[in-house]
């Protein structure tokens, strides 16, 4: 995945660091920006394959960044996944209308799942028919026993 460049635009330093390191560990070529303006500039200059875009950003709101990305021919085709927090449903809706490809509610997912989602995204991009295959494996057994023994 080294040849896949992901631009992360996220202002919270710790969240940014964790996602950034996770992306690198997963083998993506990761670059990052901490505010809307810098993110937009970086998107134009380094033309990433995917942008992970937080919504509440200093200097320029994520939705404005998205609008500008989609209106410039240089960046209009770069897929965007919105990184949002719970409670931003209205903004997510607006974002999807503006042309975002997907969204992730940060607080809702383990970190690993976010990488899964990005990987899935590229898998679907390459194999459009894969979209229809169910993600979760359904168990055929009538009895699923989850025995939990901690310690």
């Amino acid at each position: 995945m080294k040849n896949v460049k992901v631009l992360l635009i996220e202002d919270d330093e710790i969240l940014s660091k964790v996602i950034f390191e996770e992306l690198k560990d997963a083998g993506f070529g990761a670059i990052r920006a901490f505010d809307g303006e810098a993110g937009l500039k970086m998107a134009k200059s380094s033309k990433p394959d995917l942008i992970l875009l937080d919504l509440i950003l200093p200097k320029k709101h994520g939705l404005d960044v998205l609008k500008e990305l989609k209106s410039s021919p240089v960046t209009a085709n770069i897929p965007v996944i919105i990184l949002s927090m719970l409670g931003q449903d209205e903004d997510i809706k607006k974002g999807l209308k503006l042309g975002a490809n997907d969204y992730i509610v940060k607080s809702q997912h383990p970190l690993a799942e976010i990488i899964e989602k990005i990987k899935d995204f590229f898998a679907k991009e390459q194999h459009p028919e894969a979209k229809k295959s169910p993600k979760s494996k359904s168990s055929k057994s009538k009895r699923t026993k989850v025995k939990i023994v901690n310690k």
């Binding site: 710790i14 927090m85 719970l86 449903d89 383990p110 970190l111 690993a112 359904s138 989850v146 939990i148």
Partner: protein, 493 residues
């Protein structure tokens, strides 16, 4: 006396006796010269007990009122105008009545005399007193109300209003004095944020006379009024007019908005650091060389974050329910794997407890079209409760069934159960079982409340069977699909 005279007298007597009012004629000394039958009925006396005696001696009139009565008789004889007054009459058997008396000077058998016409007005006076009381009560209620009140008749003429009404709309006295609804409307509408809608509402109610209505009115100056209107209808069902109540709810609306904003901001502000803690922990936990104790502590941190996060979600959902309509966004979901995936997560959170979590009976696949977040909340509330309130080495069983076009989900445990008398209210907001509070002092009491609201959003039913110290069994019935509904906000996952 000649015959004509005698006949006239007979007729005159007959006439007197047929009148419903009691008649009596007194001479100058107050002695009764003539009494009609109605007077005998009124007083309970026989004719011979009265004729020739003075009304002042007869104890028909109470002692306190005697001087006034005597004075009036004198004044009438002296040529004063007739009088109308009430006196208390005591009948022969001691009953007290209120009599309305009319004194008049006449000539009787050639001499000056007083004609008294008496009428029993006891009941009438009682009704009048009651009416007066009621009208005072009504007036007091109207004036002490925090609502601005306006009453108009069936033609839109203003019948009544209170000070508060004048005050909140700032309507000048001269406008109200016209008593014309349209003059007042012309004064009110320029103050409104949305006058057309207001006028439409008023016109609708004047057309649909028997309708009640309640809505919010926004004013240009930022105030918000709660408007309530009801028709005035008499017992026969005739429309008499309409009453309007206006209550200034600006403060309440502002507070509600602040509260909602606060919850929303708080939830956002809490979640960012929570997510950071969880994700960092997650990354450290991936290191296989961690000492056992370190791993345990990190798991504790991770688990606590999850709990906090769930609590924030619940609070957010409660505030969304209170805000109003919730969006329902159905998606195609394979329910069996949906539940299995959740159970894997739940298994992790059953930390420190040895509990058998069993997805006991279910079809191999079950496709539904329901809202993912709402569905997850239902399953999560029930399963996490079952795990929480089931002791070490306990058992939590989940089963899923499809019957006709409904799905039936059961979550049962052999935990502490819910006391019989608390079962009816266990789905209420901020309500917990008394035994649950003993086991775990701090719980939000929101889980089952939200689960019930969530089930109802999906047009389903939820109920339970439980016995204290033996366990609980929660049943959920849901349709296979729900219709999409656009509300204000979605259910937070």
């Amino acid at each position: 006396m000649d015959k004509t005279c005698e006949r006239q007298l007979e007729e005159y007597k007959y006439l007197c006796d047929s009148l419903p009012d009691a008649l009596a004629i007194l001479d100058k000394k107050g002695r009764l010269l003539m009494v009609s039958k109605a007077l005998l009925d009124l007083t309970g006396h026989k004719k011979k007990e009265l004729i020739g005696k003075s009304v002042l001696d007869l104890q028909l009139i109470s002692k306190e009122e005697l001087p006034a009565v005597a004075k009036k008789i004198k004044q009438v004889l002296a040529g004063k105008k007739e009088f109308f007054h009430d006196i208390t009459i005591t009948t022969k058997n001691g009953k007290k009545l209120i009599g309305e008396i009319n004194d008049k000077k006449i000539k009787y058998q050639g001499k000056d005399a007083v004609l008294i016409i008496a009428r029993d007005v006891t009941q009438q006076r009682e009704i009048e007193r009651e009416l007066l009381f009621k009208s005072i009560l009504l007036e007091t209620q109207k004036e002490s109300s925090i609502d601005g009140i306006l009453i108009v008749d069936d033609k839109g003429k203003i019948l009544s209003f209170n000070e508060q009404f004048k005050k909140i709309w700032g309507i000048p006295e001269k406008v109200l004095k016209t008593r014309l609804d349209e003059k007042m409307l012309a004064f009110v509408t320029p103050q409104l944020e949305n006058p057309d809608q207001f006028i439409k509402g008023v016109q609708y109610l004047y057309k649909h006379k028997k309708k009640k209505s309640r809505d919010k009115i926004l004013l240009k100056d930022g105030r918000v009024f709660d408007r309530y209107s009801a028709p005035l209808i008499d017992p026969k069902g005739n429309y008499l007019g309409r009453i309007w109540f206006f209550r200034d709810i600006t403060k309440r609306v502002r507070l509600d908005k602040l509260k909602t904003e606060f919850v929303s901001i708080a939830s956002h502000q809490l979640r960012t650091p929570l997510t950071a803690i969880r994700w960092v922990t997650e990354r450290i936990l991936r290191n296989n060389d961690l000492p056992a104790k370190t791993r345990e502590y990190l798991n504790d941190i991770h688990f606590s974050c999850q709990r906090l996060s769930d609590l924030v979600t619940n609070l957010l959902n409660v505030s969304r329910f209170e805000e109003g309509e919730i969006t329902i966004y159905p998606e195609r979901i394979e329910l069996v794997s949906f539940i299995e995936n959740y159970l894997k997560e739940a298994a992790l959170s059953a930390k420190g407890k040895e509990i058998t979590l069993l997805f006991k009976k279910h079809p191999s696949k079950l496709i539904v079209s329901l809202d993912r977040n709402i569905l997850r909340n239902i399953i999560q509330s029930l399963v996490s409760n079952a795990i929480e309130y089931t002791p070490h080495k306990g058992k939590v069983e989940i089963s899923l069934e499809k019957r006709d076009s409904r799905i039936f989900l059961t979550v049962s445990d052999n935990g502490i159960g819910i006391p019989q008398k608390e079962q009816a209210t266990i789905f209420d907001k901020f309500t917990r079982g008394s035994n649950a509070s003993l086991q775990k002092p701090f719980g939000s009491g929101l889980g089952l409340y939200l689960a019930k609201r969530a089930v109802e959003l999906l047009k389903g039913r939820i109920w339970l069977k439980s016995e204290e110290k033996k366990g609980s069994e929660f049943f959920v019935e849901l349709p296979l699909k729900v219709k999409k509904k656009i509300g204000k906000k979605p259910f937070a996952p």
